[in-house]
Structures are given as C-alpha cells and as structure tokens.
Amino acid sequence: MKGNEAIAHAAIRCGCDGYFGYPITPQSEIMETLMELEPWNTTGMVVLQAESETASINMVYGGAGCGKKTMTSSSSPGVSLMQEGLSYIACAELPCVIVNVMRGGPGLGTIQPSQADYYQSVKGGGHGDYKLITLAPASVQEMADHTVMAFDLAFKYLNPVLILADGIIGQMMEKVVLPPFQPRMTEAEISEKCPWATLGKPANRKPNVITSLALQAEEMETINLRLQSKYRKVEENEILYEEFSCEDADYLIIAFGITARICQKTVEMARNEGIKVGLLRPITLFPFPTPAISNYADKVKGMLTVEMSAGQMVDDVRLAVNGRVPVEFYGRMGGIVPAPDEVLAALKNKVVIK
C-alpha cells in the first residue's frame, strides 16, 4: 500500500481516538483512507474534515486536552498554518501526532517531494522556545511503525510528535506489516494516565485547566525551564539512527528519509569503485544523533550531507563535527529528487578529492 494509507491503517490500529485534517496534496490519501474505512463504526475513532489547517490543529488541541489520542496530517503549506497551534500545544504540554508529507516550497510551491521543512520542524517553527519530537520515516513500513511510536512518545513526554515524511514516501507503494490492534483508552484509563485531562470535574478533584498563559514573567520562565529539561531528557533517551557500511568507512554520507534510500545506492556504487563510504541515517531529527556523528568525526576524512533542500540538516551535522573534518553538502530543491550517480559525483568532487 501507499505510505499515506499505511499511516491511516496504523492510526486506527493503535487506538487513535480522533483525526482532524484538511485536504492537501501529496497526503490527502490519509484522510481519504480513514473516511473509506469508517473507523467510527469499529473502534469508535472520530474522523473530521476541518475548514482549514488552523482549525484542524486546534481540534487536535481540544482532543489532546481531554487525554485523547488525536492526530492531524498535512503537507508543507498547511503545516505552516498550524504553527500557531503547535506552539500552544507544546506549551500546554499536550500529547498529539502531526504528519507532514513535505512538498517543494517556498510559497504554494509544487506538489513534488521535498525536505525543505527541516528547520521549521526541528528548530521550533512557531513562536517561543519549544521543540517537536521529530521522526523521519524512510519506507512505507516506517510510516506505519512511526505512527505507533509517535503516539507512545507523545504520551511519554506530553509533547507533540511530528512525523516528517515527504511526497515520495507518502505516495510510493511497498509491502507493509501493519501493527496489531490495540483498543482505544477507556475514560477510566485516561483519568488514571492523564490526571490533567479535561473530562469534567468530579467532586474529588480541583478543576483541570489546559492553558499556555502565564502573565507573570517568573511563572513563564519556570514553564520554559520545565520544557527545556524535558527536551534534554528526550535528547538523552530517544535518539534513533541507522548505519550502513560505516565500520571501515573513510567517508560518511548523512541523509534522512527517502534521500537516505537514494544514498544507500550511492554507497554501493562508490564501494564498487573502491571508495570506502558509509551512510548514517538519522531516524529522529529531534533529538538529533549528535553524539554518533561526533564520534565519526574522529574516524572519517570527510562527510557529505544530502538533502532535498538548500542545506538545512547540514547545519546540525557541522555543529556535531565542530570543524574536525570537512562537511560538504549536496541537494536538489523545489521538488527535484537527486539520483544516486549525482550524489556519487558530488561525493567525489566535494569530499574525496580533498
């Protein structure tokens, strides 16, 4: 099935309570699949087409504030519209899942795939100091797996989790093993796991209030310090990445998502020519695999970051390397997908000759 369809199936199976979305290419199959499957008749999951991405992210806020497993999905221009809501959700510390199936920008851009929303995803995106836990699937299987993992992380850290995919992974078809069915949480389970949830105030507790407002600066700084200490915990515990042929590598390619699949081919081609190159694929973009990349800075002669953008993740690679070896960049923009031989040529020209 398609990557987008895998997300819809996985959401129903992992006990998602509500999906709220607005159509936009190349991810509309997520809501279309949900509407086709009619999960309100089986698991009781609510699916609603909202009037805008602004409305859908605020619907997610409302549902998440009740301790419900809620999610939305969109593509780049729509995710830009959600930034206000994401800032509120991050500050109110609500668990939810957002899927961005990226397309080429800026502006209305193109419907072809892109990875140019990296900065927006991992550096905040909306106003204020906050972070989204960001997962970067590279296959249809991971679209399904990451949906389940995203809800787990969201409830573990009470933080929004972003699945940052692109138009290729959303549209391409691969075999997938869907996750097992888990029942939706009952209200008793929500009350126990999420004592902050607004389910109606029983006589034996104080009112629950979901808010991101603290007019006193000291109070607002305390909230910020709590958020920052949570982000440090996420960095300590949740980094995920994958390595290919890195053991004896003289050079390292770093790429995420579909670009990592392309670069895997480049690694094979380079090794056939006797160039010992490995590939490191970050699976979590926040938290970024800084320690792993830092280790390789002492082992390899140079690195090449490959992205479908003007070069965004390369900044984080350079911060990890801190000048110890050259870190070069190769990318295509505006919906163009780099081919493995292009990447190989860039590797030879920019990194190997040095």
């Binding site: 409305a55 605020n58 409302g62 009740c66 206000e84 809501g85 109606g200 209030v209 407002l213």
Partner: protein, 253 residues
C-alpha cells in the same frame, strides 16, 4: 433581626452558587462579564452538570474565565474556541461543551471557526459577549464597533470608508442550517438578567439534546473602553447598541 437569625440556614434566601469560587475577579467594575459568569455557574449547578462540563475560554478579557468557575476548562488560541469545542464534543458526546468568546475573538480572528462550527451544527453552545470593543488590549476597534463610535484605532469614530461596516455575525449565524437557537440578550436590568439566564439554560439543554449549535449573544458594556461610568454605559448601550443589535430570538427551532 439579630446576626444569629440572619446566618441561620433556615432564613437563607440567597447563596452564591458553589460552581463559582471566591477568586477576586479582574474585570472592571460595571463590566458585564461577571454577571454572565455567575449565570453560567448557576445554570451548571441547577442542571447538576459540574462533572460533565468542559468550557473553552477565549483570548480577550475573558481569557481568565477559568479562574472563577470550578469546572474543567481549555484556554484556546485567539478565535479558535469553536474548533477546540468541536473536537471535545465529538470525542465526549455526553458532555456539556460551550465556548465563551468576545466580539474580537468570535467575529474577527475566529470568524472561520465560528461560522464552520455553527454550519456543521456542532452540539455546542456559544456564549458571545458583544461590547463593540477590544477590552483587554486597551479599547481598539472591534468588528462590532458601531459607525461613528470612537476607539483607540478609530479615534475620529468608525467610518465605512476607512474601517468598513460593523459585522452582525449573530444574524449571519441565524441563517445557517446548523444552528437551532440564536438569540440576543443583555444583562443591564434585573429582567434582562433573568431572560439571559433562561436563554443560556436553553442553549445548554439544546446541546445535550443534540439539536445543533446554540448561540447566545449578550450585548454588553465596556465602561473602561467606552470611557463612561457604569451607569452611563448602560444608558449608552440602550441608546446606541440596541438599535444596531436588537434584542430577542433570531431563531428558535
């Protein structure tokens, strides 16, 4: 009558509803918000719905509504309360879900969310405080500011040429198939307070009966923003606001 006789529970003629707590209100003396808060709290107690109510606070003067009513609250981004309420009611259909919004929140920045929630016929109640001005930010022009009315961003008085027309969004909502009850009330006299209480109760009962969206507009005063005394504000409202926003039911199915 002695003090002991006065405090004897058998002689009690009035008591504050337990849904309202003792937090001192930040509202200006003469503001309509406090009266409407009290009515809502009384209705929730009378319906025995304290444990079944989830309310959505706006951005504006009523952003702190959650400090005064002992029920569960969510504070929404500016204008987004009807979207937040939509999800809560759909996920928890047996709860009473209402939004409490001012004119800037509901009729300017949140117009899309307001119209679409009402048009879908979400089973929520919308309490709409219309005082024709942005109170919290210091008296700027609102979508409902009257023509000729002065505000800090229409210092010469609102004109059609410069500022456009006042928006009667309640009339607009009455046209939508999703609304079942649309009414306009006020709280400037004892009689009007009683009528508003009845209206809010009907809106809440409609929501629980699944009849669609109910809208209760309360034409209100903002004596600080209007730069009038509380008593003069009431007179000014009757003379100027009521002709533009006439009281009564616009729709009652």
């Amino acid at each position: 009558m002695t003090t002991n006789e006065i405090i004897n529970p058998n002689n009690l003629v009035y008591t504050k509803t337990k849904v309202m707590n003792d937090t001192p209100m930040h509202y200006c003396p003469g503001c309509s918000h406090g009266v409407v808060h009290k009515l809502i709290a009384e209705i929730i107690e009378e319906m025995d719905f304290q444990d079944k109510t989830i309310a959505i606070a706006p951005v504006g003067c009523a952003v702190f509504a959650y400090k005064y009513l002992d029920i569960d609250w969510q504070q929404a981004a500016h204008g987004r309360a009807p979207a937040v309420a939509t999800a809560i009611k759909r996920l928890l259909p047996d709860r009473l879900v209402f939004t409490y919004q001012g004119d800037g929140d509901l009729a300017a920045i949140g117009t899309a969310e307001t119209i679409h929630a009402a048009n879908r016929g979400e089973n929520i109640a919308i309490i709409f405080i219309n005082n024709g001005i942005y109170g919290m930010t210091g008296g700027q022009m609102a979508p409902t500011t009257l023509l000729g009315m002065k505000s800090s961003t229409s210092p010469g008085g609102r004109t059609v040429e410069l500022n456009g027309n006042p928006l009667d969004i309640t009339k607009l909502m009455a046209q939508l198939d999703g609304t079942c009850y649309v009414t306009r009330q006020s709280v400037h006299t004892v009689g009007s307070v009683r009528k508003t209480k009845k209206a809010i109760r009907q809106a809440f009962e409609n929501s629980m009966a699944g009849k669609g969206t109910s809208v209760v507009e309360v034409v209100s005063t903002c004596n600080s923003g209007w730069k009038l005394s509380p008593a003069a504000s009431n007179d000014w409202m009757v003379e100027n606001m009521f002709p533009a926003y006439p009281l009564g039911d616009l729709k009652n199915l």
